[in-house]
Symmetry: C2
Subunit: 444 residues, 2 copies
Amino acid sequence: MARIYSKRQAPHLAPPLVLILIYAGLIVLGCAALKLPFATTTPITWSDAAFTATSAVTVTGLAVVDTGSAFTLFGQAVVMLLIQLGGLGLMTFAVLILSMFGLPVGFTHRLYLREDLNQTSATDLLALTRMILKVVFICEFVGAALLASVFVPEAGWGEGLWQALFHSVSAFNNAGFALFPDSLSKWVGNPIINLTIPALYILGGLGFTVASDIWRVRRWHRFSLHTKLMLVGTIALLIWSALAFGIMEWTNPGTLGSLSWSDRLWASWFQGATTRTAGFNTVEIGNLTDGTSLMFMTLMVIGAGSTSTGGGIKVTTFIVLLLATVAFFRQRSSIQVFGRELGLDQVMKVLALSIISVLLILCALFALLLCHEGDFLDLAFETTSAFGTVGLSRGITGDFDGAGRAIIMAVMFVGRVGPLTLGFLLATRRPRRIGYPAGTVYLG
Amino acid sequence: MARIYSKRQAPHLAPPLVLILIYAGLIVLGCAALKLPFATTTPITWSDAAFTATSAVTVTGLAVVDTGSAFTLFGQAVVMLLIQLGGLGLMTFAVLILSMFGLPVGFTHRLYLREDLNQTSATDLLALTRMILKVVFICEFVGAALLASVFVPEAGWGEGLWQALFHSVSAFNNAGFALFPDSLSKWVGNPIINLTIPALYILGGLGFTVASDIWRVRRWHRFSLHTKLMLVGTIALLIWSALAFGIMEWTNPGTLGSLSWSDRLWASWFQGATTRTAGFNTVEIGNLTDGTSLMFMTLMVIGAGSTSTGGGIKVTTFIVLLLATVAFFRQRSSIQVFGRELGLDQVMKVLALSIISVLLILCALFALLLCHEGDFLDLAFETTSAFGTVGLSRGITGDFDGAGRAIIMAVMFVGRVGPLTLGFLLATRRPRRIGYPAGTVYLG
Ligand SMILES: [K+]
Ligand SMILES: [K+]
């Protein structure tokens, strides 16, 4: 009975399936568009086109061809469009799903809707979508204007404006695609690049719920718990990653060692900020020490925020993991933070999401190791980068053959649509129906 | 008030502190004994002695000197004694703590004691301890007798009996110390070695609660939930690891490739079984493919059973992690298994234990990478091996300098006493006193 009833309530395709179909469809279309003769300067293979389309739609940024030289203006525009649709699409989808299920999205009180999908009026959703689009386009326009002040003097009006627009869209959507073979290394010490690009990807990575909460409320003590956790977590992670990167790479001749003092500081900030999901770089990632690479892998798994353009298990998930551990040591059976309490059901969600993520990364790495010769650390780094839709690489993306590419493409896809699909499952959890006697197992 | 009351109830040193002090004391004594002039054939450094003592007391088996040739009979006897005390001590301690806190240890109904420490009579605990000792010594004696049938014909009565006793004790306690530089590779195809040694370490690794439950109850449907999970989990992991090892290494000339068909099967069984915590090997671990090495690392983290001589996060913890994930996908908010229900509090314990373990491994590996040059995979493998008190190595244990050794020693120590200390914290969890309003964070 219960099943029939819930079926009647939602007779449409399940939203996660819609999401997966949309993303798969975008990739197919993007692949076809990139394979058009006038999209590339020299012909690329279907495999190249499929990989680039997947990387763009999942806003990852791993590349098997050089975006700036292999694609014509049309090809680059296709990549930019795929990035915009892939990044914006997921953000919008996430916000719409949250609002459908009555979770506060922080935009307007009208959108605190109940669980029944039918109560969400199309007008409300349309208004919300329009709001998201407006915010995104304003951010990208301002970003492009600022970037143009660097690119236009160097490349002229036409080329410079295009570069500014492309990198602004790529940055806000945390895509990490750049038009230069060494990403943004040329501007390692340029203040405008070092402030504008990170501002765009950090903003995009905070997520729409946080951005709108900040915009609407503007006072710390009235922020939602989610916003507070995201802000504290993001700032802490930025400080930690920039500091650790700077200290560990300071004298490494392959990265910071060859730069001036001020460039080293800029590069530490940029690399520290880019790692969780943005994927741009201003130093050569393949030259990182093994210790920094390990730290980067942990940051790539953590990722950015919910309802954002970023990937990973999400900052809030990471914080709840830490809080649960602290609560455990303080011998509490619940998590208290900022005067709110997180129930055990949230812990269970976090646990499931983390386990699935770890299993996914391990299985993918295992498969890669079986079918591809290569350094263990390089492959582990690449897999983690694909999972977190980060796009940083130690330089082996081009080496993959068919099977290796297929694995990385699958990880990028699951890394992008997986967490939201799980998030949907969380929101539709059924209450248990049968109780069993409690059991105990010894775990220590 | 509540704190004063609980202090009155338990005026002794906290059991975890006792455990830590005992283990630290054993290591110091062992180090001093191994440094005695007549303990070694050629003088060893204090660092060598400390590392060996730590490895023996924590039943890990990582070695910086060759146990068989560097130590005299006295020195080897010290190592064996440290193994016995380290393995047996923790098992006994764990069982005693469980029984003190009224958790069923499956041995006798008299021992279902309440939470108050004072209600546990010394007689009960003594009887339990005597029972444990009896079981352990019978197992080790039978094991030694079987092993003697191999070693005595090869090495004569004196040497052969000693080797049989040493390896029986080392195997039952999951220590992995062998008297031969290539562990047990010489007997890669010997059925007695391939059955006796694994039988000892699997039995030791199941844990006392499981062994006594099997001994006492003898019927599947009356086994405790813990016993059922341990048996199913252990068998599944044995099958998986032996199969995967065999398939992946079958044609690797450095491991199985150079062996006969029957030896390959024996070696697959032995390596599959040894990896979770025992630490013996019959093929060269340094020659494993990267894929197998990754699989081995996951097995080393999983480890053996609670109240056992083995390490790791424990098989039951791993199973609860998987069950929580499955429950999540089935949209249940509790875990049902074998007609019992595991509450969310158990999930929280599992989460805390897993997070702490992962953080420990990552921090140790990070520290190792900073202070020691070496291959990333080798160092990751070594760290995981130390955490799981496994003792398998890709051959770099001897390369570590002071800092590297100190890190590995610390990881072995925490890997051994950490989980039980946490287990104690689990058992003494306080109920929360203040409720906060519920908060929500978005995790997907
Ligand atoms: K990216
Ligand atoms: K061991």
